[in-house]
Symmetry: C2
Subunit: 300 residues, 2 copies
Amino acid sequence: MTISRIGKLVVVGVGLIGGSFALALKRSGAAGTVVGVGRSRGNLDAAQRRGIVDRSFALDQTWTAELADADLVLLATPVGQMRSLFAAMAQHLGPRTVVTDAGSTKQDVIAVARECLGSALPRFVPGHPIAGTEHSGSVAAFDALFRDKHVVLTPLAETDPEALARVADCWTRCGAVVRKLDAARHDAIFAAVSHLPHVLAFALVAEVAARPDADECFAFAGSGFRDFTRLASGHSGMWRDVCLANRDALRRDLVSYRDELERVETLLAAADGDGLLRLFERARAIRDGWLERQSGGEEV
Amino acid sequence: MTISRIGKLVVVGVGLIGGSFALALKRSGAAGTVVGVGRSRGNLDAAQRRGIVDRSFALDQTWTAELADADLVLLATPVGQMRSLFAAMAQHLGPRTVVTDAGSTKQDVIAVARECLGSALPRFVPGHPIAGTEHSGSVAAFDALFRDKHVVLTPLAETDPEALARVADCWTRCGAVVRKLDAARHDAIFAAVSHLPHVLAFALVAEVAARPDADECFAFAGSGFRDFTRLASGHSGMWRDVCLANRDALRRDLVSYRDELERVETLLAAADGDGLLRLFERARAIRDGWLERQSGGEEV
């Protein structure tokens, strides 16, 4: 079953992630028909024009009739929408249909899957591709998005090994490196390295915009500010959902981060140049070492 | 005098900024001989091999003898070194030698120039190119670094208009867009859009590195984390100096930023999805508008 072709793929949420997954599988020859499902007719039409999907349904149409003979369903919507999607799908999934998702948080998605999927739960494989750009919508999709990127799968105790293998195989065909992780560990790690930086970027833009001299600040802001705030151009609704879903871990990390900033303020107040230099040198060495390990090979 | 060639340019600190300035002026035909001065013999030799400088002196050599017939001297060292450089230079500058700098803070550099330069003060033009990468040293220099980037000049009341014009002309020949600004305004603006983001990036790397699960966090950190923390690979000593020089403005901005983070924590604690969405949408719209204005034309 692993290597078998995905004769029919249903993608719910044909945005950057869902659209790129469909494109990559189509181009690799691994997927036959792709059915797109989404909220916005305009986005679906654009996806069809680009050859990402073969046909498409708005959420208020009878899309669930497409599920019975689907080999794989990918949910690539903001995580806040997954409860109603699982609920709508549960009764319509075929006996061999595997379901996966691309949500940035995993414990919340697993919880609603447990509530809604019933006997189909073993064929649900929770996933999270660690890839993206600050752009969204099917127009932003491209087939190389996942190449050499990590995809984290967080299977449940009851997950069917064949379902897991099928999903892992699809991501491998997208060029990704698949890793398994416990869902709680996933959420703790990504609170620190993804959700927190997003919040910090949104907050900095808001903070600068609230200044009386905001116009002048933006007029002189350069490439450092641009890169630092790139995450603040991300999909607002998606990040709202992520922050709510992972809010306990995120709040803990925000508190730790504010403590770290308070330590910097203490160094500044004391004009402690040696202390600042130690902090900056340590951070630089750690980041440069990290970059080197990354470029040295993704297969860690 | 404005359009006249820089027969002899002395660059003190032949790193990313100083080296790129020399390269850009040489390639444009605006500069003749370039003399490099710096702390590290290895860096100067590399600069000479790359054709950035024609000859070079370590700081413990008799480099000040090169100043009398220099048309322009650029100080492109960390700002903490400028007091001793001005003091060493003051007695050796020729009557027509113009001095400028590339420091990221301006009030502190102006203060030490006032202390040290004596009658040469009117020929000092404080400057700050808003360009850079996270790399440093003469190996990182390239002649297009300043193309379409802002260079801020913060002349004093007593600055000679011809000296100002000469420096502005050189930056224009590097492809930059020259703007004038009051030094105090400069420091307030760059605390917000440059110095604060650098501190935030250093602090995030330090914070993640201090976690018990740091290795796992770095193993899964993706391109968002990479871009967000790019500034943390900047030159540690330079940023130590900047933070000390501009510490009052930076401390004020750090306090405001921590308040902003506290507001986010309150929204998270209340699971206020609408409040989070409003914040994220506002930040996204502001950033995207800013990017659009930037690409619409630098000449604002």
